[in-house]
């Protein structure tokens, strides 16, 4: 049993050693690399799918290793948890030691101050008491000073400063640990809902979102989304002549609870709407074309559908309309198409967009008749599965134009409205995390800039039977940290001490006295 304990103790010591911490830091840095070079599922699942399709066995191998979800993988967690444990194991004894050191008295002066890296001495006519008192005053409040009597009339002053260096260091590391814990708590309690909202419509938090990212507690229903609703009144996108965007503005009305009164608000890219613990962001935008369809049975339908931008710079967008007719009658009308905000004919009737600004837009469509979603498998609202449908027409329409398909169906392009994608985020720990972050920076500054110094003065009286024999003050110093130029600091301190403690008598006099 003792052997097991011994082995465990040795393993623990090794884990909390600086060397291990260094290795773990390197591992952490290396482990993060694939997270930036390979597509990551939480960031971009479609890219991961494409990568897997392209790379076959190699892709599957990487997937098994968790390379597409590096920051949620077991091995990444293993590294930072080990680092976490190592840090705790290292910090606990250091906090104990530092608490002791803060209360401890400065060490007695070494026997031979001239052996210290920095040392010097001077003579003075002052008595040892005067010299000690003046020296104490010169050192001031930044030094912790302890006076000791070495006997035979010899006094020593032990001085230390820079305790806040270690304090800062400990604050930084404790804040770092706190930050890690807060991040974990935040992830547990967080939720995120994304909504695509066309101008004039709205959403209520958590109700039929387009996509979600939920923390554990939101997933199992322990916490539920705050009950507010947001209505998109108006979305405006401004562009420069170069086509670069200059401003996106969403004007909204919102109510904090179902019964609360509506309040107006403006959401822009860097200014989310903050409703108590939740934030509503403007994430993206696009166009939703409006059409009127005359169905095979003669009824008309008006529809507006958000199209997804395929080109982020010109906002050429794609999407689909799905008009369900009488069941089992092959009477569904499906329309897939593209929306070019500023269209240009690239030749051969192929239309593209040259600017994200809307200027005589064109809606290009293919019209199908048949059964939409014959398989029953849920489909994207932005694309049409036309396997059980047959194409009955196609056209490039300007606003107000319509096209008649071979089956008598007509489609009219009525116009468009903008849509905005809005995101609700909730993370209850982030304010505390900010405090931890500030503590980290403050701790770091203290840890890296405060200078830890030790200084000793030995004040020896002159021979009592010789009135010309002077009090000797010898000073020795030790830098206990790397920062600063201690040689310079020591020299100027020595100079100040000498100037204050005693004007040494004329050198000739000293010489005369000694001979």
């Amino acid at each position: 049993v003792t052997r097991v304990v011994r082995v465990l103790r040795r393993a623990w010591r090794r884990l909390i050693s600086m060397r291990t911490a260094l290795v773990l830091l390197f591992l952490l840095a290396v482990a993060a690399v694939p997270g930036s070079l390979l597509p990551q599922r939480p960031l971009n699942p479609t890219k991961v799918t494409a990568y897997l399709a392209q790379h076959g066995a190699w892709g599957r191998f990487l997937d098994r290793l968790g390379m597409f979800e590096v920051f949620g993988s077991v091995w990444f967690a293993a590294i930072y948890l080990l680092l976490f444990v190592s840090l705790v194991g290292c910090l606990v004894p250091r906090i104990r030691l530092h608490a002791k050191a803060i209360r401890a008295k400065p060490l007695p002066a070494p026997k031979r101050l001239e052996r210290l890296p920095e040392h010097g001495s001077f003579e003075t006519t002052a008595t040892i008491e005067q010299a000690a008192a003046t020296s104490r005053a010169v050192l001031g409040r930044r030094w912790r000073v302890l006076r000791r009597d070495e006997g035979a009339g010899v006094l020593t002053l032990s001085a230390e400063k820079g305790y806040s260096r270690e304090t800062g260091n400990l604050i930084f590391h404790v804040a770092l640990l706190a930050a890690l814990v807060l991040i974990a708590i935040g992830r547990l309690f967080s939720y995120q809902y994304n909504f695509v909202v066309t101008q004039g419509s709205g959403f209520c938090n958590g109700v039929v979102p387009d996509s979600t990212r939920l923390g554990r507690l939101a997933q199992d229903g322990t916490i539920s989304p705050a009950p507010f609703c947001v209505q998109l009144e108006q979305f405006t996108a401004n562009y420069l002549s170069s086509g670069e965007p200059s401003k996106f503005i969403a004007k909204v009305q919102y109510n904090k609870t179902v019964d609360a009164a509506n309040e107006p608000a403006t959401i822009t890219v860097n200014h989310p709407l903050r409703i108590e613990g939740d934030r509503v962001y403007l994430i993206g935008h696009g166009f939703a074309p409006k059409i009127t369809v005359r169905m095979p049975d003669g009824t008309t339908r008006e529809d507006v559908q958000a199209f997804i931008p395929r080109d982020p710079t010109t906002l050429l967008s794609e999407g689909a309309f799905k008009e369900y007719g009488k069941q089992r009658a092959n009477a569904d009308i499906g329309i897939e198409g593209f929306f070019a905000p500023t269209p240009e004919d690239t030749g051969g009737g192929v239309i593209t967009s040259v600017s994200p600004e809307v200027n005589n837009p064109i809606l290009g469509i293919f019209i199908y008749q048949g059964t939409i979603n014959a398989t029953g498998v849920p489909q994207s609202v932005y694309s049409l599965d036309s396997t059980n449908m047959s194409r009955t027409g196609q056209a490039s329409l300007q606003i107000g134009q319509s096209v008649k398909a071979t089956n008598g169906v007509t489609v009219r392009f009525d116009g468009w409205v903008p849509w905005a994608s809005m995101q609700v985020s909730h993370d209850p720990s982030q304010d505390y995390l900010l405090i931890a972050g500030i503590a980290m920076v403050v701790g770091l500054i203290g840890s890296l800039s405060v200078r830890r110094r030790r200084l000793w003065l030995r004040i020896t009286p002159g021979a009592s039977d010789d009135s010309s024999s002077l009090t000797v003050v010898s000073v020795g110093g030790l830098a206990r940290s790397d920062s600063g130029n201690f040689a310079g600091e020591f020299a100027s301190l020595l100079e100040r001490l000498e100037a204050a403690v005693g004007p040494a008598p004329e050198p000739e006099l000293v010489g005369a006295g000694r001979e």
């Binding site: 260094l22 562009y239 860097n270 790397d482």
Partner: protein
């Protein structure tokens, strides 16, 4: 069309940028001349002439608390008896002074170029890679000038500061160049001024640290080869005029110790901005990931310098690794890897 760009000012800014590169190049030639003809002695040759090579090794390995006194002034002292003709040192001195003058003039022109660019587009002048690189270069130059005011004896090292600065600016002016234009909505935030200036300052200072670290490695290798009486070739031969390894190591450490809290602050400021702009404070965007990697490596550097067996050479390589990660984050992540931070302005 909402915001106009003052194209006259933008052109003036571009012209000043080019002028600054030219003036810096002249300054670099001046520093190189001082380095070649200067009175900074050939340490090793001198030492070898005066005493057995052992002394040098001893000097290189002086204890940590002691070496703060071994400034380049000592090297001067060591070399005064080298019998170098006095006329040459006067020439070197003159070149050095001219180079500092040119550096100051260049920095003023450079700063004006940046300020006028900002005025031309009515925003902070670090909204794309070109502007960012220009600011980093200016900070490195200013950091050098400030150190020069404190320690005039490092003047001849200007060569090694100007070289990477000119290189960075050349890349900025050619590969990274982007026309003056207003900011995209995502960048329209006062956090741009805070986050990016912190990042640029930290990077400028860390660049200086990397240069000093390279000099440290050269000098250390030089000492080792001289001690072993092995032939010394370029670039190791540069070591003959460099300050003591312990001094270089210490200066490299202090620059990192100064920059690391700024860098940490920059990352935290970025997280605060990301919370307002993208809905989360951290999302492992490639830029964030590499900022994290560089931060961890520099943290490792700071720890390595306090760990037996990792001091000196190993720590120096970690420092360079950190700078490598940061450079990768600037060039490769911005240009090659797409992410939310793709503001290079290169299309």
């Amino acid at each position: 069309v909402t915001v106009a760009v003052n194209s006259g000012m933008a052109h003036l800014s571009d012209a000043l940028f080019t002028t600054a590169i030219a003036v810096y190049t002249l300054a670099m030639i001046g520093y190189a001349a001082e380095y070649a003809f200067g009175r900074r002695g050939r340490v090793a040759t001198t030492a070898r002439a005066a005493a057995p090579a052992k002394v040098l090794v001893g000097a290189a390995g002086t204890s940590d608390s002691r070496d703060s006194s071994s400034t380049p002034a000592e090297i001067v002292a060591q070399s005064t008896d080298a019998g170098r003709p006095a006329r040459r040192s006067v020439v070197g001195e003159r070149f050095g002074r001219i180079a500092v003058g040119l550096t100051i003039v260049g920095a003023v022109i450079h700063a004006s170029s940046i300020a006028i660019r900002g005025a031309a587009v009515d925003r902070v002048p670090w909204g794309n890679m070109y502007e960012f690189a220009s600011v980093v270069g200016l900070i490195a130059v200013v950091a050098f000038l400030v150190s020069l005011a404190k320690a005039p004896q490092i003047r001849y090292l200007g060569l090694f500061v100007m070289l990477p600065v000119i290189l960075t600016m050349f890349l900025a002016g050619t590969v990274l160049y982007a026309k003056a234009s207003p900011l995209v909505p995502a960048l329209q935030s006062y956090w741009l001024a805070i986050h990016v200036s912190a990042a640029a300052s930290a990077e400028g200072i860390l660049m200086t640290s990397a240069v000093i670290t390279v000099l440290f490695l050269i000098r250390q290798r030089y000492d080792k080869r001289i001690a072993a009486e092995l032939p010394v070739r370029f670039p190791t031969s540069l070591g003959s005029r460099l300050p003591e390894p312990a001094t270089l190591d210490k200066v490299a450490y202090r620059t990192v110790a100064f920059a690391f809290p700024i860098y940490t602050f920059g990352v935290i400021a970025g997280a605060i901005w990301a919370e307002a702009a993208w809905g989360r404070y951290w999302g492992w965007d490639p830029k964030e990931t590499w900022a994290f990697i560089a931060w961890v490596i520099y943290a490792a550097y700071l720890h390595a310098r306090a760990t037996a067996g990792w001091k000196g050479r190993s720590a120096a390589w970690i420092n360079l690794l950190g700078f490598g990660a940061m450079t990768f984050n600037f060039f490769v992540v911005n240009i090659v890897i797409s992410g939310l931070h793709s503001y290079a302005g290169l299309n």
